[in-house]
């Protein structure tokens, strides 16, 4: 047996009696063996520590706490539990704060964009086109998103077309209304045509639907009057 094999055998704890032949003729290996024996003796002399007398008492309390914690974590989600017990690390807390800030910022921006969205013209003008000249911007109707974009764009185009007419009506139509003729009549703003019309309630009832007349006043050709 050579020195390397002998030392491997010594390290593996094989007894000196087995290696006696080589050790008797090799002082290096014998020294190696003696040194290791001394070291192992020193290590085995090391005192073993023992647990304190209240070890089991404290262990029982600790297990009870762990069981209580397990019940608690079953009742509330982990992150709530961590928040409750304050066991978030600084990194986790910072990341959570950043995430909340990001969500709030994006949400605020989206709300701002929705409230100030002006494709062409103002929201009030769009409302006028749809026949609600005096309706407030905020309504309890269905959400804006339900109106198809194509419809909205068409309304805006229509508004652009009638804007000059509205201006003209404001300048000219009001003086042309005959006070005598309005004794039994009503002045109504036609949102589609962008002008004031005067009509009796009777004619309005008769002609309220489907007429394409363009008269400004009188009982003839009052035109389509959308809901006011």
């Amino acid at each position: 047996m050579n020195c390397q094999k002998t030392r491997e055998a010594i390290d593996a704890g094989i007894g000196k009696s087995v290696l006696a032949g080589h050790l008797a003729n090799c002082s290096d290996c014998e020294s190696y063996s003696n040194e290791l024996s001394s070291l192992l003796s020193l290590l085995r002399e090391q005192p073993r520590v023992e647990v304190p007398t209240d070890f089991e008492f404290r262990l029982k309390a600790r297990i009870a706490r762990a069981q209580a914690g397990e019940v608690e974590s079953a009742v509330m989600p982990g992150w709530v539990s961590k928040l409750w017990t304050g066991s978030f690390s600084w990194v986790q807390a910072t990341a959570a704060t950043a995430a909340v800030a990001l969500v709030v910022s994006v949400s605020t921006y989206q709300i701002y964009q929705n409230n100030h969205e002006v494709p062409t013209g103002s929201p009030v003008a769009v409302s006028n086109v749809s026949g609600r000249a005096e309706s407030p911007v905020v309504s309890d109707e269905a959400p804006r998103q339900t109106v198809p974009t194509s419809e909205r764009l068409a309304s805006v185009r229509q508004l652009r077309q009638i804007e000059p007419q509205v201006a003209a009506v404001e300048e000219t139509s009001a003086p042309s209304i005959d006070p005598a003729a309005t004794a039994n009549s009503m002045n109504i703003f036609n949102g589609d045509q962008g002008r004031m019309i005067t009509t009796s309630s009777q004619m309005m009832l008769i002609g309220a639907e489907g007429s394409n007349g363009t008269g400004v006043s009188g009982s003839r050709n009052i035109g389509y009057v959308p809901s006011i």
Partner: protein, 189 residues
């Protein structure tokens, strides 16, 4: 009653069976952790945490290998976590005052033979303290293998399972640890 029978009884609600498991392993586990982290109070604390984990995960334990290996593995992982947390907190363990920057070379402050009182007990105590300090100064990967082999007297196969390493690596680490200790304790060997 063997460990697996005690565990089965514990699962059935037998608290006395779990007490017996604690009684069998409490000192071994505490001793192992103490040798790893060189702090008795924390070693006791970690030993308790080891038993808490055993108890709380009783249902998940599968007897694929010995319970002894299983509990030592839990204790080892907790001890390593403790050492890493200490490094993160920059706590300097006492033994590193005697070691150089890579913790490989240790100048153990052994008593001058001429000044030692001729009291056998005191001499023995000094030697034990020197060995304790030298063990604690070993790099943790060598320390774990050495403590399990030469203090806890585990087989290579058990150490391999506890540390999750091939047997060859375990043998190599044990030899390396012993050689380092021989260097550190040359004056008293």
């Amino acid at each position: 009653m063997d460990d697996h029978s005690l565990l089965a009884a514990t699962r059935e609600g037998d608290e006395a069976a779990f007490q017996e498991i604690v009684r069998r392993y409490r000192n071994q586990i505490t001793n192992y952790v103490y040798r790893m982290i060189d702090d008795y109070d924390r070693a006791v604390d970690i030993a308790q945490e080891t038993f808490v984990r055993v108890y709380m995960n009783m249902e998940r334990y599968q007897a694929t290998y010995s319970f002894s290996t299983y509990i030592y593995r839990i204790a080892h992982n907790l001890a390593i976590t403790e050492l890493r947390q200490r490094k993160r907190r920059r706590l300097i363990p006492l033994p590193t005052f005697f070691s150089d920057k890579d913790s490989e070379e240790v100048e153990v402050d052994l008593p001058d033979q001429g000044q030692v009182l001729a009291d056998e007990a005191i001499i023995a105590d000094e030697r034990r303290q020197a060995v304790t300090t030298a063990i604690a100064s070993l790099p943790e990967k060598y320390r774990a293998a050495l403590v399990l082999c030469d203090l806890e007297e585990k087989s290579y196969e058990e150490i391999s399972e506890v540390l999750g390493l091939p047997t060859g690596t375990v043998k190599s680490r044990i030899n390396r640890a012993r050689n380092l200790l021989k260097e550190k304790l040359r004056d008293i060997l």
